[in-house]
Symmetry: C2
């Protein structure tokens, strides 16, 4: 398997990206190859001169860099030789089997969608993020690829996340919830209400109905389906709240008992590690014709290693084939052609 | 001031509601009166036979009870003598100056909107909730009154929350943020983009631009404006995540060191108290022609007491007059008549 990695993506690039690639050597089989994409001189100056890497790690030159705060579409148009544009093109030309970027999310999603195209039967791709909760992993889709969703998009997010969760998290019959503002049928906006009907009508989906924000953390679902606006707010709110809460705990501990704070520190560290979504190696762009992972801008080498591992599983388990097969056989159809 | 309280609202009614009313006696001035509304026999059997209460606490009979999970509109139609319907009618007839309910949120909002009508110049009321964050109180509006918003609704939520925050939290020039999925102008759906233009065009609003989910907790804004769907997800997600995280911490502490867990317990209690949104006594329905507070279904006596206190401040500070005045003078207009 050939995996292209955007060497210039994220706040810690290229150091942490390259470190992540080197740490991943142990994951590679005989036919696996990691391809670092970015300015050749920059990457090579940081690659240790170890002969044994030569076989499995390769560098592809891409001189341009898209920064984290550039406008996605415009930056792609201007910087055709950016690492993001180049890995997307390599995927299109079937020169690689998977692409990974911790760079500008908007630019990555736009480039992958434009070059790799959608899977057969999928109307709009969605970004799936896994929240490691106290009750187990919960997959949330979409967290930002598709801001304005049609009911069919939401249904398909449910299908794709279900197949992903089943085969990559080993959850036999994942429970799919639809994010709304109350559990009753009548709750939600028109799109949610129609999506609910589509999901209910699929006998092969273990649909648990509407869920509310709190239900992500209380163990009643394995999948939370929402549009990309709501999903993005959920993702970032969770980050901000966890940080804020630990800051508050630290503050309380420090102001009174330094000893207690010291004792509590390893507990916090353990919780951070246990509930760290970096273990899932970033977010999968589901519904794209290929394997594409989008990592957090703050990714460290460990995240990149996990992303490489996740892309291998996704590819090996043939998740995309399973999605195409499911959607070709589903009885769920919609009258709405403008999807 | 006359304040009507739904005695049958919430999971702990009527016990905690009545207890909250009794605890509030110390807040009352000479001309203040608390009116408990619900089945007379039930309430009176729980009211202690203390003569001194007679002057300030009164009971108004309302035989019907709307339960927490009933459909709002239908339940109001069927149960015209429910405590919620009766307090809303009392407000309409100017028999009371404020209404408070910890009951069925949907039914309360519907009844208050229907009976009390909107403030002059306000197109749609919004529910404002205060999050006590590490960096200070942040007011979020709307958290569920208005699921599908027009740009003008979002602008008006900003105005109302700004006036509320200034006069009730003492924040001189509240910073207003618009919830979106990125800070750039181009981010967000069409409604958010148009709302952004309206907010930017108001020279009297301290508008800080788009905010993301994480920004609620990092001190860059005092107000977060969003539609009721997104706001409701934020509210419930926050509840669920805080509970889940403390559960995780407790679990980690218990599995290793019981002693550490015991030492940490008061810290958790202190944090819960410090960041407890019950101190704000529930959510204000902003934009209604009157003073209406909606409390959490799990409200305890303390919440009710705080709600009574909040309703007094809201009324005394003449927040509604200030909102009407601001909106009558704003230069911000919209072409869209279908608001």
């Amino acid at each position: 398997m050939r995996i292209a990695i955007d060497a210039m993506g994220g706040d810690n690039a290229p150091d942490e990206i390259i470190a992540g690639v080197l740490e991943s050597m142990e994951l590679l089989g005989e036919n696996d190859e990691l391809i670092l994409v970015g300015p050749q001189d920059v990457i090579e100056s940081q690659l240790p001169p170890v002969k044994s890497h030569k076989g499995a790690v390769r560098v592809v030159h891409a001189p341009d860099v898209i920064s984290m705060d550039e406008t996605p579409v415009e930056s792609l148009r201007k910087k055709r030789k950016s690492s993001i544009a180049v890995i997307a093109k390599m995927a299109k030309l079937n020169q690689v089997d998977a692409v990974i970027s911790a760079g500008n999310t908007g630019a990555s999603v736009a480039a992958f969608q434009m070059r790799m195209r959608n899977l057969s039967g999928v109307n709009r791709p969605g970004i799936a993020v896994v929240f490691p909760t106290f009750e187990g992993p919960v997959t949330i889709c979409d967290v930002g690829a598709n801001i304005v969703c049609k009911p069919l998009n939401l249904y398909q997010y449910g299908v794709m996340a279900m197949i992903y969760s089943k085969h990559l998290h080993g959850i036999e019959n994942p429970r799919v919830g639809l994010m709304s503002i109350g559990q009753e049928d009548a709750k939600g906006n028109e799109v949610v209400k129609k999506a609910r009907e589509l999901m209910k009508s699929d006998p092969n989906m273990n649909f648990v109905g509407n869920i509310e924000g709190r239900d992500i953390f209380n163990g009643i679902c394995d999948i939370a389906v929402c549009d990309g606006f709501v999903g993005n707010v959920i993702l970032k709110l969770t980050e901000g709240l966890v940080d804020g809460l630990f800051k508050a705990i630290k503050h309380e501990l420090m102001t009174e008992k330094l000893k207690l704070a010291m004792e509590f520190k390893p507990v916090i560290t353990r919780i951070y590690r246990k509930y760290d979504y970096n273990v899932y190696g970033g977010a999968l762009l589901l519904g794209i014709n290929g394997t594409a992972l989008i990592c957090h801008g703050s990714s460290k080498s460990r995240t990149i290693k996990n992303a490489i591992s996740a892309s291998k599983s996704f590819y090996t388990e043939k998740i995309n084939d399973k999605i195409v097969e499911y959607l070709s056989q589903t009885s769920v159809r919609t009258d709405d052609e403008s999807r």
